[in-house]
Symmetry: C2
Subunit: 253 residues, 2 copies
DNA sequence: AAGTGGTCTAGACCACCGG
DNA sequence: CGGTGGTCTAGACCACTTC
C-alpha cells in the first residue's frame, strides 16, 4: 500500500527533521537570517523540543546553523577555508604567519607534551599562547611549547609585556633551521579556556591540529591548535615537489 | 561591594560528570573493558539517564568510549594515526595506496562536484567507490570522481566485475602526470550509506577530506573521503619522515 | 522583563545483540 | 528472551542577551 515509509527502516524523527530543515535552509532562508525559536519550531513539526534540538545540533555540527543563547538560531555562512601549512618550511611566527601572540610563560607541560618534545618530565618549556582570527572572527586558539634548548639566546627576557615576550621567543626560533614537521588532525571538544577564546560554549566541537617541528634532528617545538569545527574548513596545499607559487594576489611589502 | 565575583558558576552536571568519568577511565579502566550500563551509571551518579548520556556522547566524540547498541559501552583504544598524503605526488590507486576499490559507475555528479571538476552540468564522470581499513577495521569511505577526459583510453570498458572496473580506471589515471593536489578537512556527519560502510549509525561524526588533483593545469579528479572521527587521527608527514605515535591519553593499569 | 537557547528530569518505547 | 544503547516525550528551571 502506501510505500511512503516505515516499510522496514523507521527513520528516526530527528533524522527526517534534519533533512526537511536542510532543504528549507537551502531554499527558503538566506545567510544570517534567524529561524523561529525552538519551541515554535518544535510545535510546528509536532515533536518535542528535545527532538527538534537533536536535529538542530547536527545541523550546527555541519556548519549550517549557528545558535547563541539569549539570541536565537541563525543560518550560518559557508565554512571559511583556513590554510594550514601554506609554507611547508616555516616556523611559527615567520613572516606571513597569521597568528597573534598573546602570552608566554614558562611551564612544565603535561606528560604527553614532554614526551613528544623529548624533554625531561619536570623541565619547564616556553608556553606561548596565540590566537588566530579571520575576518575579525576568532577561529583558533593555540598552545605552542618550545623547549629552552630551541631558543638558547634568550637569557635576559626582561618582558615589556606578555605579547612582546611571546614575540621574542618566536623571533629567536627563526634562527634554527627547520627540517620538517609532522601534523595530525583530530576531533575534540573545547576545553573551558579555549571555548572562551573561541566564543563558544565548553565542549563545542573543535578540530585539534597537533604539529611537531624538527630541527637538528630533534623536536624543536610542538603546537596544539584548536580550530572551531563549526566554522572552519582546514585547507592544505601540497605541491608535488614543484614550486607553484604563482600567486596572482601577491602583496608587495 | 563584595561584588567581586560570582561565587557560584554552576558547572553543568554533564560537564562535571565528563571530568569524573575521564579520570576514572584514566585510572580504573583498561582498553576494551565494558562500563556499567547507562541506567546503572546514571543511578550511581544520581542524575537522569539523559544527563549521563550527554557526558558519554562527548567522551565518545573525543574517542575515549565506544558505544554499541545491544552490546554496551566499552573503553576505546587510543585513536589510530591514519596517514594522508604520505606520498605527495601520487594518484589514488598508485602503488602503496591503502584503499580498496569497491565499485565504479558512470554518474552525473552533484553540482558542487561538477563545478570543482570544471565539467559540464550534465556530464557523466567515473564515480569510484573505495573503502579503507586499518587493522581490519573500516576507517573511511571514499567517492572518487574522475572526468572522462582524465582517462581517455578507456573506451571498451568490458567489465569483469565492479571492483575490476574501478581498478581499470585508477590504472588509467596513472598515465597522467600529477601536478599538485589541494586538500581540505572539515567536520561532517555520516550519510546513511557511509555510516553503513563505517559500521556506525547515520549522523555519526566524520572527518571529511576533500582532495582535488590537478594535471595538465586542470582538475583531473576529485576525492571525497569520510573518516570515522571517533577512531581516526589524520596525520600529515612532510618528505617521507617516519611518523611517531603520539599517545594523547595516559593509561595506568 | 521578556525571550532565547542550555540544562535537567523521570518516565516510555523501540531496535539491536547476545545467549 | 533479557539486556543494551537509541529515540522520544512533556514538562521544568537556569543563564544569557536584548530591550
Amino acid at each position: 500500500m502506501g510505500t511512503t515509509q516505515l516499510e522496514s527502516v523507521p527513520e528516526p524523527k530527528y533524522w527526517h527533521l534534519k533533512t526537511v530543515l536542510t532543504e528549507a535552509l537551502d531554499s527558503e532562508f538566506s545567510v544570517g537570517e534567524i529561524l523561529p525559536n525552538e519551541r515554535d519550531l518544535a510545535a510546528r513539526f509536532g515533536v518535542a523540543r528535545a527532538t527538534l534540538r537533536q536535529a538542530l545540533e547536527q545541523l550546527e555540527l555541519e556548519g549550517r546553523l549557528q545558535r547563541r543563547r539569549g539570541v536565537g538560531t541563525t543560518v550560518a555562512p559557508p565554512r571559511m577555508g583556513v590554510a594550514l601549512g601554506t609554507d611547508q618550511s616555516a616556523w611559527p611566527g615567520a613572516p606571513g604567519d597569521t597568528w597573534n601572540p598573546v602570552d608566554c610563560t614558562p611551564e612544565v607541560p603535561r606528560a604527553a607534551v614532554a614526551t613528544a618534545l623529548e624533554t625531561g618530565p619536570d623541565e619547564t618549556v616556553h608556553t606561548v599562547r596565540r590566537s588566530r582570527t579571520v575576518h575579525g572572527q576568532p577561529v583558533a586558539a593555540e598552545l605552542l611549547y618550545i623547549p629552552r634548548v630551541s631558543v638558547p639566546d634568550l637569557s635576559g627576557i626582561d618582558a615589556p609585556s606578555a605579547a612582546a615576550r611571546a614575540r621574542a621567543v618566536l623571533r629567536e626560533l627563526q634562527h634554527l633551521e627547520l627540517e620538517r614537521k609532522e601534523s595530525a588532525v583530530e576531533l575534540g571538544s573545547a576545553r573551558a579556556d579555549d571555548a572562551k577564546e573561541l566564543d563558544r560554549l565548553p565542549g563545542a566541537p573543535v578540530l585539534v591540529v597537533t604539529t611537531r617541528f624538527y630541527a637538528r634532528r630533534r623536536p624543536a617545538a610542538l603546537s596544539v591548535a584548536t580550530y572551531r569545527a563549526d566554522t572552519c574548513r582546514l585547507t592544505f596545499v601540497d605541491s608535488g615537489g614543484v614550486q607553484i607559487h604563482h600567486d596572482p594576489h601577491r602583496r608587495a611589502s
